[in-house]
């Protein structure tokens, strides 16, 4: 527990730094757009209606979806700019997060600016005209100062929303305090989740208080008060950004990626450990969406990560056939190189395949050892799948190849899927062959004599940019063939189990010590 807390806190400066940088940039951009828009809206009632309705509509989109929607949009724009201007830009990480959060921050600023400006006493507005102010002078010298307390209240709301929503930028590849929350939920590491929540909530409260100081300062025309608030924000921003600036000044770090499940966290830590042992600096970009990770690698935003041959075979090369484990690896090696310049560096030595699993006693009692047996005897059984399994091509392939029939099919969140198997609510489940719970729960994986399920060798991929880097390739190539499926299962279980839990970094160290 103390050790896990210690490890979580060690990552805080980087994650907090990015979180602050992202929120501050989004808020600044939101102000830059929403303030002038609010001024225009205060002047023109029709525009006001349109602007407020538009900003309100954006607010109703769940923030995670808004972030996710910017990825394909930016990808499209990047492709367009690549064709027209010769170079694209990153559709991942900072940019989509920044744009989504900016949109999100606009509504309260826009609404309060428009309301604050149109709420200024008409007698005062007429006096401003009467003493000879131009429209611009009236805005800056009279209307803006008088509306400032209301505008500041909007900025405060926007700041709190933005800081909270910035935790959702993790899945689109932006390091933030959300990294704690997303991986903590995945590995049921509540210490990490709490650290992430506490840091994000603490940051929001602090910023809210400082902005409140500025708000009351301008409201009471108390210069010392708002200068103190502003200074507090400035010092806080600088302090949060220093760790980022320091690490940016040092030697360029390698970036190791990971998708969003335990095995990926452990393998990323293993690779990072090898590099750090050789004196390199390493950044981790974890919790990437499955499709996001490969694109990020091909674009050189991450230097290396682990993927699985069957996934790459189907999703990147678009193949549906299964020529066998070695042939898939060989064709991937040349296919990825030609297509994206991505180097398939080394298979790690184990597969993390989709496999159908049963409790050993149940399988033995029914006499089932392969999918072919299951096709014959499965008519009275219940099949449990994870949330995506029944819609994946692997399932349709297996179902067709063996003519599988079940009494019922049910979907579960992975943790509950294993519990359903234990209690008999499901007889067969879709499992990942390297899942630690297979050994721990004494499950058997059913054989696939027809080869309907493609091979899923875990392979280290290296980005085109880093392919020529001898230190990186040397350090990572040494992992080739070093992990068998039993070892990986044990490491995954150490992270996933409820008691005596290890962090991914601890599990990776244990792998090194073998």
């Amino acid at each position: 527990m103390d050790d896990r807390l210690h490890q979580a806190l060690a990552l805080l400066p980087e994650r907090l730094g990015w979180h602050v940088a992202l929120s501050a940039a989004a808020l600044a951009l939101g102000l830059l757009v929403a303030l002038p828009l609010g001024v225009l809206a205060a002047r023109r009632p029709r525009l006001r209606w349109i602007a407020l309705a538009g900003a309100g509509l954006i607010q109703t989109i769940p923030s995670l979806a808004l972030l996710a929607l910017f990825f394909p949009l930016l990808l499209l724009l990047s492709g367009l700019s690549e064709r027209l201007l010769g170079h694209g830009f990153s559709a991942l990480g900072f940019l989509p997060s920044l744009l989504a959060l900016t949109l999100y921050s606009m509504l309260p600023i826009l609404r309060n600016t428009a309301a604050g400006l149109s709420g200024v006493d008409p007698a005062v507005v007429e006096a401003a005209r009467g003493v000879g102010m131009t429209d611009r002078q009236r805005l800056w010298r009279v209307e803006f100062p008088l509306a400032l307390p209301i505008i500041m209240a909007g900025v405060r709301t926007a700041a709190v929303w933005t800081i909270g929503a910035a935790t959702l930028s993790t899945p689109v590849g932006q390091t933030s305090l959300g990294d704690y929350i997303f991986s903590g939920l995945q590995t049921e590491d509540w210490v990490a989740v709490l650290v992430g929540c506490a840091a994000s909530a603490g940051l929001a409260m602090l910023v809210d208080q400082l902005l409140g100081l500025i708000e009351s300062g301008v409201g009471r025309r108390d210069r010392a008060r708002w200068i103190a608030g502003l200074a507090g924000l400035g010092v806080g921003l600088a302090a949060a950004l220093i760790p980022l600036a320091v690490s940016a000044r040092g030697e360029a770090a390698y970036v190791i990626g990971a998708k969003n499940f335990s095995e990926q966290y452990v393998l990323a830590e293993l690779m990072a450990g090898r590099l750090e042992a050789r004196g390199a600096r390493v950044e981790r970009r974890i919790n990437l969406g499955s499709a996001v990770a490969y694109r990020a690698l091909a674009a050189g935003e991450i230097d290396a990560y682990v993927d699985y041959s069957g996934t790459l075979w189907a999703n990147v090369l678009g193949r549906k056939d299964n020529p066998g484990r070695q042939a898939v690896l060989d064709e991937l090696r040349s296919g990825l190189k030609t297509r994206d310049g991505v180097v398939l560096l080394a298979p790690l030595g184990f597969e993390n395949a989709y496999a159908l699993a049963m409790r050993r006693d149940r399988a033995q009692a029914l006499g089932i050892t392969t999918l072919a047996d299951l096709a014959v005897k499965g008519g009275g059984l219940t099949m449990g799948g994870d949330l995506e399994f029944f819609s994946r091509p692997e399932w349709t392939g297996v179902e067709r190849a063996y003519g599988l029939r079940f009494k019922a099919k049910r979907q579960f969140q992975p943790t509950f899927m294993y519990r359903a198997l234990a209690t008999g609510e499901a007889d067969v489940i879709s499992a990942f062959s390297s899942d630690g719970r297979i050994a721990a729960d004494d499950l058997v994986l059913l054989g696939d004599p027809k080869g309907a399920l493609p091979p899923y060798d875990a392979v280290i991929l290296v980005s085109p940019r880093a392919a020529g880097d001898r230190r990186l390739t040397g350090a990572l190539a040494s992992l080739a063939g070093s992990i068998d499926v039993k070892t990986m299962q044990a490491a995954n279980y150490a992270v996933d189990r409820d008691t005596d839990k290890q962090s991914p970094a601890q599990a990776a160290k244990a792998l090194e010590r073998r």
């Binding site: 006493d121 007698a123 005062v124 007429e126 006096a127 401003a128 005209r129 009467g130 003493v131 000879g132 102010m133 131009t134 002078q137 010298r141 009279v142 100062p145 008088l146 025309r221």
Partner: protein, 255 residues
Amino acid sequence: MTPAIVLEQVGKTYDGAAVLSGADLSIARGQFVALVGGSGAGKTTLLKTINALIVPTTGRVLVDGQDVAAQSGPALRRRIGYVFQEVGLFPHLTVAQNIGITPSLLAWPVPRIAARVETLLDLVDLPRELATRLPAALSGGQRQRVGVARALAAEPTILLMDEPFGALDPVTRVALADDVRRLHETLGLTTVMVTHDVGEALLLADVVVVMADGAIIARGSPAALLSAAHADPRVAALIDAPRRQAEKLAGLIHG
């Protein structure tokens, strides 16, 4: 000598309804003119066409012989003092900053503005300590004195006042009205004041202009208006009321 202000056939319509129609008026330099009439008579509209706060639909307005339509509105208004009915002091600025606003728009040097603010506080009979206060800390009478000082800050030759004493208690009202007349004399101003109080107009002004339904229906010196028999019953009613009040008061005083 060119008149300070000339209105030629000035009219204003809003959505087809005329609030001012065919007003002709010439105001000589140094005159104190009061516009009187019931509410909706068009007094304030007429006043605001002089500093182009309202742009007339028809006719033209000349200030110092120049057509105001051909000038920049803000520049024109910086040359003409304006006192508002609701005072309209800027609540976020101190008394000194309120008074110095037009000079600062005209980019006067800071020491000159500061000196001018002190002069004006003296002129409108306010203690100099008030300079650093915010308007919220002043009494109603003090506020309107600041309003007058603000209107006079940039040394205008023309002063426009829209019901300047409307919200004040009677004692303050009379004191401030006397001070305004004194300032009008000492500064050599041309003053146009809108008021619904005919008695006040007759006591303060050189010329009283009576308006009704957007038109000028009578004009003259207070003495002439009081002595003449008026064919228009609207004029007669307006002038008779204060006269009868004055006669009753005189009767009470002289027993």
